[in-house]
Amino acid sequence: MRVLWSWLLELCDLDRQITPEQGAAALTRGGLEIEGIEALGTGFSGVVVAEVVAKRPHPDAAKLTLVDVITERGGAATQVVCGASNVPEPGLKVLWAQIGATLPGNITLAAKPVKGIVSPGMLCAEDELGLGDDHAGIVVLEAGDPTPLGAPAQHALGLADHVLELSAPANRGDVLGLFGVARELVAVLGGCVVPPDAELAGFLSAGGAPTKIDIADPALCARYTARVIEGVTVAPSPRRIAQRLRAVGVRAISNLVDVTNYVLFELGQPLHAFDANTLKAGTIRVTAARDTESLVTLDGAQRALVPGDIVIRDGDRIVALAGVMGGRDTEVTAGTTRVLLESASFQPLAIRRTAKRLALPSEASLRFSRGVDPELAAFASARAARLLCQLAGGRIAGELADAYPAKRAVAPVHVRLPRVKLITGVALDANACTGALERLGCAVSPAGDGLAVTPPSWRVDLTREVDMIEEILRISGYEQVQSTLPALRQAPGIHDADRADLARHALAAAGALEAITYGFQSAERANALGLPGSDRRSQPIAIKNPMSGEQAVMRTSLVPNLGAAIARNQSFGRRDVCLFEVGSVFLKRGEGATERPMHELADEPVWAAGVLAGKRRGRIGDGAPYDAFDAKALALEAIRAVAGTLDVRTEVAAVPYLHPGVAGALVVDRSALTSDIDVPTIGSRGIVGWFGELHPDVRARLGIDGPAFAFEVHLDALPLAPPPAMQAIPKYPGSDRDVSLLLAESIPAARVEQVIDDAAEPLVAGIRLLEDYRDAKLGAGNKSMLWSIAYRSPERTLTVAEVDHAHERIVRRLVAELPAQQR
């Protein structure tokens, strides 16, 4: 809310004078955050108040006037050329932009001839000062305007002022009027509030019978008042009213409308003015709308109503959507002479729902939905009536009609002083607590071990002891709270290491850069992997109210966002990139999840994934290009970080988003996996991840240029390794034997390892591939592999014969089972 500083000061009498900055600091300290201070009138300078002393037509231009102005009583007059048609008679004041004045739009005035006569500056219209779009004529101050001659124009325009941007807490409807802000300022700084003048004596006329009011359900409307003002004349508001409204962000329209807005900002009470001559029934009824009813609101739109809406009826006819918008048929117009002024308090929730459903947020509905104090209605009505009489020449017809069926009985709240100390940590005695609460308008009396506190009517948010404790601390000052630390009463307990962080550390140490990407993505990106419809990951969870298409669905794999990040890096020339991410993906629970709305939580398994493209870093020049084995290495690092020495095998696999010839699945014994996690299987083994080269179609969908490699590891499926136990360091030397094999290209390396493993020779301590060689000379479809097998015993140095025999047995099995020839 925009708080006009001079208006705020008018509503309170503070113990000391303060600057807007001090006021903002005091309000912020008290909990009404001032998010900014705007100095008004900074858009122009060098414009002064001048009085017209003579005027005559320009000799050479019919539409121009030569105006003599003075800026001090008895001073010499200056002749200014003016093109406006409303140059006033001598004695009235205008705004003179002198030579050197700066105006909005980066204009600096210089003397220049107008039709042959040099004009030292100009007389200004509103739009030339950036005050709206009125170019109908120059600004003429009202007769009797007290601004001294020669003063900056800002003083005459109400612009020597500041606006505080107040962010009102959601529970404080009472500060959505300047008077409520004044109460807060007074509570924090000391002083008293000065209610605006609502005296009606002198404006009363006999009038007829008061309007009848019928509230169908007190729950919908705690209080409804109506008052008729007769003999009004619609006209523009005086400059002072219009300026204030403009400063708080509302355009002036006419005196009738402006008065309701003025009181809304001043007191926080929304008002509605009906053209009383359009109301025929003599009874105002407040009811819930019925289904199928509708209203043409004053913006001309036909609004279909629902039973939750509160409506105002003239007899049975709906004439307004309570607290949200009036009806077109009963609105005040230029010809209105009688006004029925509504000042009421409606149920916050109903107003909030209606305004939200119809997308009609307004200053009024904002306030009603935060709750308007019913006690305020009559006073606000009087204040507005007085202004209407003053500004529009009206007379008040009869008494205020006041239906108040739901007067709130405010029960005192018991506040225990020890509880104040326990919660705040500050020792505040009864006097301090009482003083703080009384400054807020609470009635306080001693009661047992504490205080009985009755909050003022406008503080509907104060209903519990803890609410009062907050107020006591707030007004006493949060700065009284001393820093202490909570006692350590409990050991932290046993907590598993976090799989995700283990993997992150390992992958970063292995040279990959961690990325964090959004949990949501566009539908296109979610589909980029081209997974079959039967795959759970091809049915992402949709977001009902995304801000853009980029937030359509939740991710089911980390790969698409990473792939898109690779493409983005390529777009600005970073082509050698190795990214990883560890995070949750989101899957509908249960098999065959459908388009039905979700009523339960999702599965949020944690995965690690990476995408690599380009080349490794070289010492001089480029390094070698990344390939699938870099992706495999990272995947294995992530697995090792979580699962330690878990035996991980590679299987050639068909993975929809990977190149059909460069794709592997990482598998482990099913029994080793976390039992409550479902993973795809190959035989008795569960798949915990994939790696390989991205399929060219997937690359194209993600915009990646050139080959790219990826891996994914399902971290939640992996068993968390216990702290590793040391393995004995070998005491005796081992010896190596090599075997060179000629075998079919289609036999994978993993098969060779498997055969050696199956041989179960106890002396085998390790195997290593020394060469993987393909050449036409080997015969079509053949390859040659050179393996080295290490033999060792933990108990003794092996003899040559022992090693040779063991090696012989293994070679025989390789030759027979692969099959292969020994070379």
Partner: protein, 342 residues
Amino acid sequence: MTSNEIISNLERLEADFESAIRPLGDEQAIRVAQAQYLGKTGRVSELMKELRTLPAADKPAVGAAANKVKQTIEQLVTTALDGITKAAQQADLQRRVDVTLPARPIGGGRLHLLTQVRLEAVQIFAELGFVVAEGPQIETDWHNFEALGIPKDHAARDMQDTFFISDEILLRSHTSPVQIRTMQTQKPPIRIVAPGQVYRRDDDPTHSPMFTQLEGLAVDTDISFGDLKGTLLHFVKRFFKQDLGIRLRPSYFQFTEPSAEVDMQCTFCGGPGCRLCKQTGWLEIGGSGMVDPVVFEHVGIDPERYTGFAFGMGLERMAMLRHAVTDIKYYYEGDVRFLEQF
């Protein structure tokens, strides 16, 4: 030969050997020369065959001379070999490598700045006995709002524009539902921090539709507002590694009472006011307060017996303040020019 002749021959062999190996420059040639003199059929051995023709009385003198020659030759071999080693080392020391050439690239991997900040924050709170708790990102409306005292249609929901999956399921808009989940399953005393991703319909240089919050919760028989202040002060000093003060400023959150915005002294100007702190000397870092009794009632904790504090802060903002990150979007773009800086 007489014993004297043998002895003088032996001495000549010594001189011969010395001149024979002087030109030799490698170990193998020297070993060959050594064998020619000291081997089984070497020249010293040949000469010693004469020994048996001598009278017994002469033998010791000749034997002594022979041993001396053998020792001398071995000494000469050792010296020559040392010389070769030294010369080789000397030659190697003439090698010159341009050490200003680039280093071999190793490592190059990095944890994301937000990961680093999260790990550090969690560590700092661990010093005060806080342990990590987690909860789902896709949450129920009840955990995210209602249990925290924010019923449907409440004005407080306007503060957090939320992404919904269905009427009852949403993307959590804060980490506060982890408070609820923790208090539902654990009895006090409770000390947790809950870092995690949260989602709001917000997008500008300081707001991202996804961001990372760190929630803290302490529940015990005697937790006070002062404990909240002390805990946050400890964090700010340790995290920013500066002796910065904090201030609590009254605010409103549905699930805490009293509630407070947490400000810390400006990391940049330290107090007098600058552009970063909008001339106030203070930077807002999060929301906090004493757990509202309504929340305790929702999770079955007796609000008369227990009190608690809760706080939440954005890790992006913490990292922005400490590392001068200028736009929140950098965290999520996977731009290596950003990622490799930290």
